[in-house]
Assembly symmetry: C2
Homo-oligomer: 445 residues x 2
């Protein structure tokens, strides 16, 4: 007997949860398409040198090797599973750029893999739902502004309560770190520490900054001050504009102002938006706008969606400017947490509302015909095939969560009728076989 224990970090759902997952996924997909993003998929597998082009080895990557007939590793050792959908997009755009139309707007809903150490809530395999716009040469700031409006509409439709899309510009923090005379080579590592502020608190971040970079207390105070700036009142931009720091800082503030001004044109209510200089993201490829989204009443769910602007990413793969901006929803984690928090309700284990029970297998054709009538009318329908008692079939119907059981016993057969039992109320109606579709549609409606 082979051991079948679950593999930590590789989640799987039972059918009822999978149905909820599918519904959320469908809201996202339809939302992306409504804004005119086109679907693509890239292979799960890329060359290692593509995935590591940016030098990000922080996130651990799963490499592939082919098991030979002897169970030994053999060739194909230059391949690995993608850890996000942004590096593959950059490769895809560079590779197919002469066949694509720019600005290239695409969405991508796929699994990604990260070889992290197992710990609660960390997944090694999970879905990301990404939208990105990639330009050839230049890319209007209107794109940076449209992304949050797509996210706003999608999360509104999911009915997951109040949320805030927090927006920053990386140049602001970089300008400020430069102003504090922190060496440029350390910017990214300092930001990685600062990125943990919400999770671990000021004390621990300060300790880590002291230990890793030997920064003076005053400098750390200054860093923590700037990354603590956050407000839904756009007056905060006036204050930032008034600060004379340096050119990079001023450029970042100007870009942020342009993005926030444009977002208003998309009619996203201001209380769903926040300027937050603490949003620094732990990925090194962002160069301008950065986004992070959090649920107001469920802070334990953490960031549900994040992204930003990357002007140089495709530069590893093509000798021309292909600036991009995008955002990613971490779907697996989002659905898991929303189910745990009770925001998403898990219901039936079937997508079909109707179960046709089968009392008499000799009359199988009759039961199958009713199934066909309902399916042809667009009503998903299962016909029960096991030779067990009606009460056991009804138990099956209740466990799976069907809404209506069709019952055809001796009396019904004699009169060419069918009986419909509403499994929630217990109400029953008897109708002629050829009226089954209307009756079912009436009960469902």
């Amino acid at each position: 007997m082979v051991d079948i224990k679950a593999i930590s970090g590789f989640p799987e759902f039972l059918p009822a949860e999978q149905i909820v997952f599918g519904q959320v996924c469908e809201i996202i997909r339809a939302g992306f398409e409504r804004f005119g993003f086109s679907p693509i998929e890239t292979p799960a597998v890329e060359r290692k040198e593509i995935l590591t082009a940016k030098g990000d080895f922080g996130r651990e990557i799963y490499g592939l090797s082919r098991l030979g007939d002897e169970g030994e590793d053999t060739t194909d050792t230059d391949l690995a599973l993608h850890f996000d959908l942004t590096m593959p997009l950059a490769r895809y755009v560079a590779m197919h750029r002469d066949k694509l139309t720019f600005p290239f707007r695409r969405y991508q809903i796929q699994k990604v893999w990260r070889g992290e150490r197992a710990q609660a809530g960390r997944y090694r395999e999970f879905y990301q739902c990404d939208i990105d716009v990639v330009g050839r040469g230049e890319l209007s700031v209107l794109n940076d502004a449209e992304i949050p409006s797509v996210i706003y509409h999608i999360f509104r439709e999911m009915q997951i309560g109040q949320f805030v899309i927090r927006i920053n510009n990386r140049k602001i923090v970089e300008g400020y770190l430069d102003h504090l005379e922190i060496p440029q080579a350390s910017f990214f590592d300092v930001m990685r520490v600062v990125d943990k502020l919400d999770r671990v608190g000021r004390g621990q971040v300060a300790d880590e900054l002291t230990r890793k970079f030997a920064l003076k207390d005053e400098i750390i105070k200054e860093i923590l001050k700037i990354v603590s700036v956050k407000s839904s009142d756009m007056a905060v931009l006036n204050e930032l504009e008034a600060m004379k720091v340096n050119e990079t800082f001023a450029k970042g503030v100007a870009e942020l102002r342009a993005v926030m001004d444009c977002i208003r044109l998309f009619n996203v209510p201001t209380d769903y938006l926040q300027v937050d200089l603490g949003v620094v993201r732990d990925l090194s490829y962002y160069t301008g706008t950065i986004y992070e989204t959090t649920l107001t009443n469920y802070s334990e769910v953490g960031s549900i969606c994040s992204g930003g602007r990357y002007d140089g990413l495709a530069g590893f793969f093509a000798e021309e400017a292909l600036p991009g901006v995008g955002i990613s929803i971490g779907l697996t984690r989002l659905v898991m947490r929303l189910i745990q928090a009770g925001i998403l309700k898990v219901g039936a284990a079937t997508v079909a509302p109707i179960l046709v029970t089968m009392i008499n297998q000799q009359e199988a054709a009759r039961y199958l015909k009713v199934g066909s009538l309902l399916r042809e009318a667009g009503v998903p329908t299962e016909v029960y095939f096991g030779s067990v008692s009606l009460s056991e079939q009804l138990r099956y119907a209740h466990r799976k969560g069907f809404r209506i059981a069709v019952i055809i016993g001796k009396a019904e057969i004699a009169d060419n009728n069918v009986k419909l039992r509403n499994l929630k109320t217990g109400d029953e109606v008897i109708c002629a076989e050829d009226e089954v579709v209307q009756q079912v549609q009436r009960i469902i409606a």
Copy 2:
């Protein structure tokens, strides 16, 4: 600059092709749900011992290894990518059997990976779309009969012309091989050779049987005779019943008769069905019914869907009988071949029918408002953000395949109007901004 050449066997689509792929996938998904199959997904990753429980090392498996910070392989070496969805289903059912409702009917649409040597038309990463029914204890033959009817309805809806679902029972061929005194240990290997009959012809199969198993010419002739039996006329079953071979053979014929009799109840036209003793499948886990489906007018497309009954598969993972029957559509190959054969037409590179062009960025709010009106009415709409000439924006619209361009120039702004250009006919209409939704819906319809 990092080299970005494609990886052989790992296909990816351009957006217009991806949209077609998505449409086909949606027909399959909806078809599966119409028959009351519930969705599940299993991780792409399983323990190697799960995947190799059946001992099938013929299909090569990709193992995983985590790249450490030094780019070296480290732990997690017991994990591998699944090569089909049937072994993972057996594991899933055994693992969750106390939380599932039996008979367990599920569909699963996911990528699988096979570490095959690269060759034309062989994919190392591809989608499979599976339905299976797994019983606890016993499983009615009605399930074996329903599977082809699901397939029939789905392929009809795809409008891919005439096709034939070829059905066999493995016991027939096994019984016959036994009758020919071929040792039982060689059954599977002999069937693997015979499985190539359609592709390589009688001569090559005969040669291989001689070489590998030292079979006499007479025996080979007998084998080729039995596996060449095929007919859409069910009278063929009478002939098989009349043959006195042995108990296994007779059992296989009786099971096949039961399945074919039941299929009639599902109203699948007989010319879509064929008894074909040449369908032996190269997987060792099938124990009864076997299916294979081919397009009548496009034999070069090969088998588009196959599967069968496996009574013992979950036995590797659970100490109880969990018999199953199912079928799998090789979606990636199917779509690729149907596009190549011209059966599926590749159209627009966008799912949105409408592009709102933007002549005057100062008036961005106006263009965005029109976009919002259309989206709120359920019409996917893209707003163009680049600052290029109208003619260049229209070129973009034509290249991506939008149906209507919304144009708002000086005159339209002055009168609060919008101009709609039908991009196929070139016809234009001017209407009030607040009538844009009705006008667009009229043109699209």
